[in-house]
């Protein structure tokens, strides 16, 4: 597996800011400044109340950290719905926060209001793929709306790979399910003894995306998919599904579930001699899975016990301990001291979203949405937690590509125990998949977006 920046020839360097071709430093940003002035209104839609507010909050925190890093200030804390402003030289960043309550309906209303009443220049947000899809379809992609929407952390690959949602205006910095699958699937195929895989997923956009992507990738790598089943969220009858997997002679199972379904899945999975691999998720899910594993394997949890129970490898889109570079170090420090937690799964992507916005405003010298969109097209983002120039928006679908790591879960080390509330965490990466190998290529049959 490759690591680092990937190779330069593959990267489209049409970004308006110069000097990022070869993974240069962050100094480029100020050089390319075309002295923008004015107010950039950013509409931020995330779940800020309810059960999954942590998804929204970490996304916002990542975003704010990205802005803080770029504007060289401290990140905003105590964020609530409403408007906050950040001064950045001649540019004022006006951030309007709206709570989506993890509901597509609320998100749609929020987006509509942001566009219509608040007249925002940019939309950013949505943790649920259903919400992001809805916002793209009913607001951003309608005639008369010409501002960009940076979706994230909503992870369904479809948002940037399906003709129904993808458009000139829909961007995503965050990593998506296809990236999980392409990296994890490739690694599992090449580096483990897995031959026959059974796929299970939650029956909605996220789960379907996971399963579809794994299927494509695994099949391309010569692994046989012996079964595939979608179940409603919160499903619990895994007994039967695992029996089916056994009957099909599967030796591994990939779960496309979130925290609502994963515990049931894991509980049953432990009773079967089958490897479980897939993607790491957020602290909530790790806490849940950790709890299940503790219940099943007994205390204390050890790395060996986990490995012996054939759990992993998992890909991670980002976790604080997977990267060592200056930006990441600064980010982890900034984030931890501001919010009391280590940056979680979604934060690198949302950091990058903010970073790229800032970069686009500076590069285009305009605070107009349409110019920002133009500037972001194909941009390589200079400052990101995965390193300098580690994210690049692909021209054909506006999805940012970035590196993904593969790791096994390990018990949370004392160093992080204070700021990571789960009993397991991703271990040292066993592999890094370069950014040019993670996303769905433009000519892939699964890529339904051709901008």
């Amino acid at each position: 597996t490759s690591g680092g920046d990937g190779n330069g020839t593959e990267t489209q360097n049409t970004a308006t800011d110069g000097g990022t071709t070869n993974g240069g430093g962050q100094q480029t940003t100020t050089q390319a400044d075309v002295s923008a002035s004015g107010t950039v209104k950013v509409g931020i839609m995330q779940p800020m109340s309810g059960d999954l507010q942590y998804y929204g909050m970490q996304s916002i925190w990542g975003f704010l950290s990205g802005l803080a890093y770029r504007t060289d200030s401290d990140p905003l804390t105590d964020v609530q719905t409403g408007t906050r402003t950040i001064d950045d030289g001649d540019v004022t960043w006006e951030l309007i926060f709206k709570d989506t309550q993890f509901s597509a309906d609320v998100a749609q209303t929020a987006a509509t209001d942001l566009v219509q009443q608040d007249g925002v220049d940019v939309l950013f947000g949505c943790s649920s793929s259903g919400s992001a899809t809805r916002v793209a379809q009913t607001v951003v992609n309608t005639s008369g709306v010409d501002i960009p929407f940076i979706a994230g952390p909503a992870a369904s690959a479809d948002i940037t790979a399906n003709g129904e949602t993808c458009s000139d205006q829909v961007f995503r910095a965050n990593e998506n399910t296809a990236m999980d699958a392409r990296s994890g699937g490739t690694y599992a195929a090449q580096e483990t003894d897995i031959q026959r895989v059974f796929l299970m997923g939650a029956d909605y956009s996220f789960g379907r995306a996971v399963v579809n992507n794994y299927r494509t990738v695994l099949e391309n790598n010569g692994i046989e998919i012996v079964g595939e089943r979608f179940v409603p969220q919160g499903y619990s009858e895994f007994e039967g599904l695992f029996e089916a997997a056994v009957d099909a002679n599967a030796d591994a199972v990939v779960p496309g579930f979130t925290v609502a379904t994963l515990p049931n899945f894991m509980t049953t999975a432990a009773g079967y001699d089958m490897r479980v691999f897939g993607g790491f998720a957020t602290e909530i899910t790790n806490a849940v899975v950790g709890q299940v594993l503790t219940n099943l394997l007994g205390e204390p949890l050890t790395a060996e016990k986990i490995r012996d129970s054939r759990i992993g490898p998992f890909t991670t889109r980002y976790h604080w301990n997977q990267y060592s570079n200056d930006i990441n170090t600064a980010f982890v420090d900034m984030y931890t001291s501001a919010y009391g937690k280590v940056p979680d799964l979604f934060t690198s992507g949302t950091f990058t979203a903010a970073s790229s916005l800032h970069q686009a405003v500076q590069a285009s010298g305009s605070t107009e949405g349409i110019d920002i969109a133009g500037s972001m097209r194909g941009m390589t983002v200079a400052d990101t937690p995965k390193g300098a120039d580690a994210y690049t928006y692909q021209e054909y679908n506006n999805q940012a590509r970035s590196e993904v790591t593969v790791a096994y879960p390990v018990p949370t080390s004392d160093e992080w125990a204070d700021n990571w509330g789960a009993s397991i965490m991703p271990g040292e990466p066993v592999a890094r998949v370069g950014k040019d190998q993670t996303t769905i290529p433009a000519d892939d049959p699964g890529m339904g977006c051709d901008l």
């Binding site: 709570d99 309906d105 259903g130 809805r134 029956d203 956009s205």
Partner: protein, 390 residues
């Protein structure tokens, strides 16, 4: 400051229409149509499926007004099919079988791949850029597009003075510019108004009186010569028609729909809330009930421009940071007990309504204003749903 926003009013209109259609059957014949969301969902899905080119024989450009009519007619057919089975039952059983039908549709539309890639997440308009227009089909100038984003804007009025060149006319010359929100407000409102008058008219017709007779005492109604089955079927079909029109307006304005906000039985539950708060067995009551519901909701969310921002601005930093107990500040208390807790207070309020204002807003108001009609309505509510006992 506490006036509902235009957008809220539009929601009130289309959902109010749905609640009215629910009340039309439930409040006037005494048959609680707990699965009424089936009609709403049908209308809602129908409009989008056509717009996405997924309904055979109908092009995705079919005028919205035609769609509303077709959705209504489709609902009539469905009502007749459902009713043929359901009207053999009464009371709770009727409520439950309609609920069963609606839930079957709900499960079905949540899982049917044909409607969209992720049926559980719902669907949005994809195949139609021009939005949905209300007006006279095929006559462009007589159509206004609704929708918050695609909706038309409109300048209304005549500058008579400018037109005629007679300066003296300037006092009667006004122009009013309307944004898409306002245009949708008037256009959706117009359709709802028309539907309201239609229902009102039917209730005050001999047919409506027969419906009430059924509510009062179906056995006797049959014995004096009413084919109660037909009357019920007719009433159900009419109410299904308007329910589907409401659903159609909903998606016409929102351009998206999900199983949860259409077919799910709690959608009918919301209609029930609206009916009770507004006044069960009064045609317009549910509209007011919905207005009340939405208004309260808006009042109690931070975004709503209601109580919370007001409190924040009025109380001042000092008060907000006052500690009540144990490091728990006023600001936090507001956050915990008020923000987004509209559900709690609507629930409480609803309970109080049920206990102390059983005739709903409109019913009570009418009774207060006096008149025999009022007395009848209030009484009617009390004696309703006789078949409900075991």
């Amino acid at each position: 400051m506490f006036l509902p926003r235009v957008q809220t009013m539009i929601t009130v209109f289309y959902f109010g229409l749905f609640a009215m259609s629910f009340d039309f059957i439930s409040g006037y014949t005494g048959y609680l149509s707990f699965g009424h969301s089936a009609f709403y969902g049908l209308g809602a899905y129908f409009v989008i499926l056509v717009a996405n080119g997924k309904v055979p024989l109908l092009g995705n450009g079919t005028p919205f007004m035609v769609l509303l009519l077709l959705a209504g007619l489709l609902a009539v057919v469905m009502a007749l099919l459902m009713g043929a089975v359901a009207f053999r039952l009464t009371g709770v059983y009727f409520a439950m079988i309609t609920l069963g039908f609606a839930q079957i549709l709900y499960v079905f539309f949540s899982n049917w791949d044909y409607v969209g890639a992720n049926p559980r997440d719902g669907i949005a308009v994809l195949g139609r850029q021009d939005g949905f227009a209300i007006g006279v089909p095929y006559v462009d100038s007589l159509n206004m597009t609704i929708g918050q984003l695609q909706g038309d804007t409109f300048t209304w009025g005549m500058d008579f003075a400018a037109m005629t060149g007679i300066g003296a006319l300037s006092p009667i010359s006004h122009t009013i510019a309307l944004g898409p929100g306002e245009v949708s407000y008037y256009m959706v409102g117009l359709v709802v108004l028309v539907c309201y008058f239609a229902m009102q008219r039917i209730i005050h017709s001999p047919f409506g009186r027969a419906m009430i007779a059924i509510r009062e005492n179906e056995e006797r109604a049959r014995a004096v010569g009413y084919d109660t089955f037909r009357v019920k079927m007719g009433a159900f079909a009419i109410s299904g028609f308007f329910g589907a029109v409401a659903g159609g307006l909903f998606t016409g304005y929102r351009t998206s729909v999900a199983p949860e906000n259409s077919f799910y039985f709690l959608t009918a539950g919301d209609a029930l809330l609206a009916s009770i708060i507004g006044g069960f067995g009064t045609v317009a009551g549910p509209l007011f009930g919905r207005l009340f519901h939405e208004g309260l909701h808006e009042f109690l969310t931070k975004e709503g421009g209601g109580l919370l921002p007001y409190l924040r601005s009025q109380l001042g930093e000092g008060t907000l940071n006052t500690v009540i107990i144990d490091g728990f500040t006023v600001a936090e208390a507001i956050e915990v007990f008020l923000n987004g807790r509209a559900g709690l207070y609507i629930g409480l309020l609803f309970v109080l309504f049920v206990l102390y204002v059983p005739n709903g807003l409109l019913g009570t108001l009418r009774a207060y204003l006096g008149g025999t009609v009022a007395g009848q309505v209030a009484q009617a509510v009390k004696g309703r749903v006789r078949g409900w006992k075991l």
